[in-house]
Amino acid sequence: MSQRNRAHTTGAARKQPEQAKSPKNAKNAKGAKKATGSMDAAPVAANDQEREQHRPASLSPETLARTLRAVAAELERDPELARRISGAIAGPEAPPSDTALRQPTSEHGDTGNTDEGDKDDERVATRQKRSTFRPRLITGASPDLGPGIPDPFTLQAKRGEEGLRAALEELRLGTLRAIVREHHLDPEGKLTRQNDAARLRVLILEAVARNHD
């Protein structure tokens, strides 16, 4: 079998179209085409060597496990990061966050005032409306909150207003409702009956602030 024929069966030969995509590689590919006889495989081999040099060293299983553990710990610590990554994993069909929806919709960076932009906004809004239930990465509330229903007054004393606000952001509707119930913050139960976590957070923050004053 001649070297030219053999090149068709090697990985190096199959990689050529890919390599030609970058200008540098395109040059190499041209060179390879010009070459004849025993010389024709040399530029490809050189190119492979270059790629090998730039490829990061493969991670050992231990390093990989350590890295993934660190990432998992960070995700548990930072629900916002977890939410963003969860959104990214869910793909373009599920916008990762509110901020992503507010990003410009066209290549030119306009905010979608054109008809096309409006249609895009409508499509996004419809999609959002249709799929109000989006899976998310579950990280759970911080273990620092202790067992049972968290006490916002203690949290305020320990972490200050910003700390309390951050802690409440982590909590879901059920826990917020339980805090309001336990501390009798909504005697008539009007807000508690609504499934509105944001308003419950405000109610708790206001009650704690009043108590602090």
């Binding site: 548990e76 239930f133 998310r136 579950i138 990280t139 759970g140 509330a141 273990p143 909150l145 067992p147 049972g148 229903i149 909590l171 879901r172 509707l173 059920g174 826990t175 409702r177 339980a178 119930r181 499934n195």
Partner: protein
């Protein structure tokens, strides 16, 4: 006090959903309810508290020497308390395997607790943890999803219950009933329901839990369907189930005691 074990060796049949929402339903009938999360996946723990794998937990009671009282949590649901589970329970089967009286550890830990109902959520297996849950219970409630494969493996669960009854003298352990979950008005579901009625004559509960997205949403919001969407089809079904269970398994006005069976 009546202890009800929610068991099925099949996964994904609605055990945790039933445990959490039945507990909330009974609590709304003014009963004090303790949920015990024996499942290492700890989904009931998350659904009732928003915490993922808290420590200490039931593991420290079963495998360690911690007192049960020290790991009882108030939950997001009024009148519902929880003994949380965590991921370490997944190894507990192995760790308990060589211990004498391993099936009785939960029953002993619960001794003297004064709640109206204890609801025990089990893992989808028939290992030592599920045996602990069964040994600690007076009645078993079996959720079965009305799908093609739901009846496969049911005989195994029944055989395990029979074996345990003989081995541990659990003469008063009975199947309270079978509750159909994920119900949709389809030919498959209705046919499966018919087979269930024949197989468990008189023991299939009237309540059918429908397939309802609000049930999943409620878990995500760390509360029961009765807090999240009480008027939804799922909410109404669990309200009805609580009434039915109250009728089938009345709460006894005395503290938990399972030793009678042990010494019988």
């Amino acid at each position: 006090m009546a202890a009800i074990c929610i068991a099925n060796n099949k996964g994904g049949v609605g055990k945790t959903t039933t445990a959490v929402n039945l507990a909330a339903g009974l609590a709304r009938l003014n009963y004090r309810v303790l949920v015990v999360d024996v499942d290492g996946q700890a989904n009931a723990t998350y659904a009732l508290t928003g915490r993922v794998h808290p420590v200490p937990s039931l593991y420290d009671v079963l495998v360690g020497d911690r007192k049960l009282e020290s790991v009882i949590w108030q939950t997001n649901e009024e009148n519902v308390w929880l003994v949380p589970g965590d991921g370490r329970l997944q190894n507990a089967d192995v760790e308990l395997a060589a211990r004498p009286g391993r099936e009785w550890r939960l029953a002993k830990a619960l001794h003297g607790q004064n709640y109206d109902y204890i609801i025990i959520d089990t893992p989808p297996s028939l290992g030592v943890l599920t045996q602990n849950a069964l040994a600690a219970s007076h009645r078993v409630l079996i959720p079965i999803s009305l799908t093609e494969f739901s009846l496969i493996g049911m005989d195994k669960l029944e055989a395990t219950i029979e074996d345990l009854r003989d081995q541990l003298d659990l003469y008063d352990l009975e199947i309270a009933g079978v509750v159909a979950t994920f119900y949709e008005n389809t030919t498959t579901a209705n046919d499966t329901w018919g087979i269930l009625e024949k197989k468990y004559e008189g023991r299939v509960l009237e309540t059918r839990i429908p397939k309802n997205l609000d049930l999943e949403k409620a878990h995500r919001e760390n509360e029961s369907i009765l807090s999240f969407a009480p008027t939804s089809s799922g909410g109404q079904a669990y309200t009805q189930l609580a009434r039915e269970v109250k009728r089938l398994v009345p709460a006894q006005p005395r503290p938990y005691d399972r030793r009678r069976s042990q010494t019988a």
